[in-house]
Structure formats: C-alpha cells, structure tokens
Symmetry: C2
Subunit: 352 residues, 2 copies
C-alpha cells in the first residue's frame, strides 16, 4: 500500500506543439494570424498594475456584461471561464452526472473523451459518416447528454441549425452542448435556438476569432438556471478564475466589432483562396467553415507531408489516429503564410 | 425526468466581499497593501500584446523555472496553477481518491470541505484545541490523506515543523498537503522536509505576500512523481490554464527578492504594532504569524463590531459559524490603515 494507489490516473490531452522559435509558420493550433484589436494594446499599456494586489472581480462583471450586450441576452445567462476548455470541463462536471453515457462524434475535439475519463463519465461515440458529416440518426438513442462542435473539429464541417434542432428535439431531457469555437468563420450560431430550448448550452471562445488565445477566455450562454448551476460548481472550484488582465482586455476585444468582422472576414477570404490552391495540387478536404482545412493528398501520405513541412519551418497538425491518420489540419494564416505553404508543398516530390 | 436530475449540486464557497468602492479600507480578504514589485509595472508596459493571439506556454516554463531556482529545487518538482485554489482543488481531484476520509481541522480554510463535497471525497474534521492550536493526536487515525494550512487560517497560528513532521510520520502512505498561503509572514516553510518525505506537498500563493491576487498564481512543490500525476490531471482539464500576462509578470515578482522581503517585513512590523494596539483595547487573539489577526473583544460581540466598521468603510471578515462567530479576521494593511482601524474601534461604544 502506498500513496500511489489513491492517485487519479488519467491519460492527458496532448495539445499541438508550441515551438519557441519565432521564425516558423505556425499553422498547427488554429490561432488567429492577426493581433488583438488595437484598443487592447492601448488598454494594456494603461493598466494600473497596482490593482494587481487585489483579487479580481469574482463575477467577471465587465466581461459578462459586454458579452451579454453583444449577444443580446441577459448577463445572468452568460458564464465565462479560463478558455472554452475550462468552460466545457466545468460543464462536464456540472451537467453530465447521469448513469447513461453521453454522446459525441468519433472524430471530434479530442478533449471530450479526456474530460469524460477524468470525471469517470460514461460515453459513447457516434461515428461521422464517410463524408465527415454528423450522423444525426446515430444520436437518436437514450443518453446522458450530447456534445459536439459546430463547425466540427478537425473536419471544419458546419451543420445547419436544422441539424442542431433535430438533436435538441431527440433529447428534450438531456443537456445538449454545442461547442462553437469556430462559429465566427462562416457558420450561423445556435444562440437563437436558446429561446426555444432550455437544455441547450452554446460555448464560444476568444482564442480563435478574437485573437486572444494568450489571455484564456471562453464563455457559454444558456438558460439562467443552467448558468446558476455552473456558477455553483465554479465557485466550488476557485472563486477567482479569471485574472485582471483578461477581464479588462477581453472587454475591449468585444467592443471593437469592426476589427473583429474585418479580421474574421480576411481569414474567410484566405481560407477560400487556400482551398482553391490546395485543390489545384491534388488535395481533397471537407468544405470547411472554420479557420482551418482538413486536407488529404491524393497520393502522398499525410505523415510524410507533415514531416516535410516541419523540417521547413511550417507546422501543421497531424494525428496518428484511426480514420484521420491520412489527414492534415492546416490552420488558415495570412495570405503570405498560405502562399509560403502552397509554394513549399509544390516543391515536395509527389505533390504535383 | 428532466435535465436537472443529472446536475451536480453543490454549495459553493463564499469569498469575502469585493466592494467596488475605492474609498474603503479593505481588510477582509488578506490582500497585500503594497503594490507588486516595481519591475512588474515596467514589464506590463512593455508587454507585446500582439503575442496574445498565441496560446501561452502550456508548461509555464519561465515561471516554473524561476520558482525552482528561488526555492532550490528541480523544475520537475514545481507545479503552477491559477491561484493556490486551483492548485489545491487539482490536488484534491488527483490525490484524494481513496475510500477513507481525508482529515483537516474543523476551523480552517473553508474551501476544503467545499472541494471535498464537489468531488465527493469523504472527509472528517479534527477540532482545534481550545487555544486554537492543531490537535496533533487527533490526526493519528486511518485516513485517505491530510491537509492543513500553516499558519492556519483564520486563526493565524503557526505550528512548528516538528508538528508537521509528526503528522507526516503518522501517515507515510497518505498524501499530506501543507497549505502555506501565509508562510512568508514569519513561519518556517516545510519545504526542507520534502527531502525526507515523498508524500508531502507544499502549496504557496502569489496572492498574499507577493501582491498579486489579481494575477491568480499559485504553486506547489513536491516529489517529481507527484508533480507528474498532478500535471496529467491538469492536462486532462485545460492545457493552457495560466495566461501570458501571469506567466510574464509572475517571474518578475519572484526575481525582486529585496522588494519581497521589504514588504513582507513591513507587514510583519505592522502586525506586531496592531497586536499591541488591539490588546490595549481589550481584544484577544492567537499569536498570528500570518498577514491577519483573528480577534475577539472582551465584551462587544464580533458581529456588532463587523457592522460598525463596515458602516464606516472598514471591511473586515466575519463568519456566522460555530466556534468562530465571535471572532473577526482582520487583514494587516498599512500602518495608516491600521491606525484608522484602531481609531475607529476606540470610538465604538463599549470597546474601551
């Protein structure tokens, strides 16, 4: 008998590499290639660092109110956390306490099964169809809740709201969490469905479309009752999860809507250009509505391309997992970065 | 049947008030009255906000290495989190998985039972003795682990390392967590005991002695194996818990040791002055080695004093809980703030 017997043993999530070299082209973790809104820098420079001696506002009032105003809901329906990972993990702990398994796609954000394992939540995966779309009928079975990203990751495929609504109708008594980390790149948010479904929770993040992965801000919007339960768990965990800089600078990112629309618009345009260029050199991919493309080459194995690019300072994402081992998830960077990517690919033997 | 049945229902921790008024004297949440080290402001002003678009270093390398160097341990023995609350909550989840109850004092940091409830960890409390000291023999029974703050909160009493060691010897097969949130105000850290006991984990925070409650930085030091288990759970929760500003500015706080020693020294001097002044107006208290005093008046009930002070813009902490309902936890502020406190108390009917 030793203390090790009482340890919770888990297999952690492995995030994409964060190389320290600055000269690489980093297309492996779906960050935004543009800096945060200009006001963020101004606000950071003016920040009163003497205030850091005090605990931050535990209710994250300013940011919660800014988000509520932006999405036209009451602040009591908004919950913010340290990135959407924090928000979703808290949701798993709060809402998935039943005996029946929760459901999510087999090819999806690979943190879902990690959270389920961490909290000993039973789960079953619903295989995506061969075209990578959601197998909606596959979700039509007794379960303890449903979670899926829309657009899905790493496929980038967006499912119309009619699909989201069908799943909500299948499970009126269970939580349905729609993880909209990539919604700002061309999809339509499920937020309006909140008026009809009190079992729906919509999660979003500042890490992709709002250029703030480094600040760790995520949020979700749901019914007032849901948010109350979520806050009870949050306040049982850590009263002060979001620090002062994130609370202050996050508000500024929400305020500058013109910049937000401009940069997401630019990324969408670059994505469409990139799709054309990739098609031209024999890549296929689902029609992504996210800030990445999930691409397979006609003849060169993904792992070889992954290594080839990495040796040349271009980082994309590759998983050695069933079904997706021949795919690369390529984040959409700037036009220049994507031109470099395409140019480098063209030089690889076997690509053209 | 409704979704509410599957919700994890908990009674959350209630932190001290964080009033938004700036003109009050805030002695209710044990913050430091002095601003962070001067270098923190300089570094904040220079921060490259463009980097916020990238995920922060998931291994918090810089801060981990700075702490390791400061405390003369290997970086592989240091774990950092979003405040010591995050660290301890993660420890509860990671290490307290046995069937036997964990043990902590009855009068102590009131988050311990909340975390135990959140994760359904059985626990038993060991009543403090009537002089508020730890009942060491009370911990000598089969258990699933032990946690206690040293100095204890809200009493402020420090237990010598011989006491810590006795508890470690009682439980060689269980985790013993010493929560040293207040250790920098006059106690001797249990860190040297790590060389002899591989079941010991020492937790500290930047929120009190390092003037950085607003950045949310806590850490713990233990055996390499323990830290590895803790990281597995952390990476099953959220890969990127600590944001860029905290990682950058935290390092600067560790580097400026002269400022750290100067400000903690000032707080200690103010505490001793405050003790004398409180004794002079008929308060009694355990001999605090923390940045607060846990005081009871000879005749005026604590709750009346609490309200009286609050009406006059001085916030201290009071709990309506058995054993401590007649005590006030008064944070040590600046000399001027404590003079205002004492002056205001002297004007209250019944105090003199």
């Amino acid at each position: 008998m030793s203390w090790e017997e009482n340890v919770r043993k888990v297999v952690p999530y492995v995030a994409g590499e964060q190389p320290k070299r600055k000269d690489i082209i980093k297309l492996n973790t779906n960050e935004c290639p543009y800096p945060p809104a200009p006001g963020v820098r101004r606000l950071a420079e003016q920040m009163n660092t003497d205030d850091l001696r005090l605990y931050p506002d535990q209710n994250t009032t300013g940011l919660t109110e800014a988000l509520a105003a932006y999405y036209h809901v009451s602040p009591s329906r908004v919950f913010v956390g340290v990135g959407s990972d924090d928000v979703i993990c808290m949701c798993f702990l709060t809402f998935f306490n039943g005996a029946r398994p929760i459901l999510f796609p087999d090819v999806t954000y690979s943190f879902y099964d990690v959270w389920a394992d961490l909290y000993r939540i039973p789960y079953e995966t619903v295989p995506l169809k061969s075209d990578w779309s959601l197998d909606v009928e596959g979700f039509d079975r007794p379960c303890g809740g449903v979670i899926f990203p829309n657009p899905n990751a790493p496929t980038g495929l967006y499912e119309p709201l009619s699909v989201v609504e069908r799943i909500l109708k299948m499970h009126p008594e269970e939580f349905v969490i729609v993880d909209e980390a990539y919604i700002d790149f061309g999809g339509e948010s499920a937020l309006p469905l909140l008026e009809k479904y009190d079992n729906l929770l919509v999660v979003q993040t500042f890490s992709k479309s709002r250029s703030m992965a480094g600040l760790r801000i995520g949020f979700c919007i749901g019914s007032e009752k849901m948010i109350r339960y979520l806050n009870d768990v949050k306040f049982s965990f850590n009263s002060y999860t979001m620090n002062l800089p994130s609370q202050l600078l996050g508000v500024e990112a929400v305020r500058d809507d013109a910049y937000f629309k401009e940069t997401t618009g630019r990324i969408i345009a670059t994505r469409e250009r990139t799709k054309q260029a990739l098609s031209g050199i024999s890549f296929t991919f689902p029609d992504s509505k996210a800030n990445f493309v999930f691409a397979t080459h006609r003849s060169v194995p993904a792992e070889e391309i992954f290594r080839y690019l990495k040796e040349r300072g271009i980082y994309v994402r590759h998983w050695n997992r069933p079904r997706i081992e021949n795919c690369l998830r390529i984040t959409i960077g700037t036009d220049e970065q994507m031109d470099r990517l395409i140019g480098t690919l063209k030089e690889m033997p076997g690509i053209l």
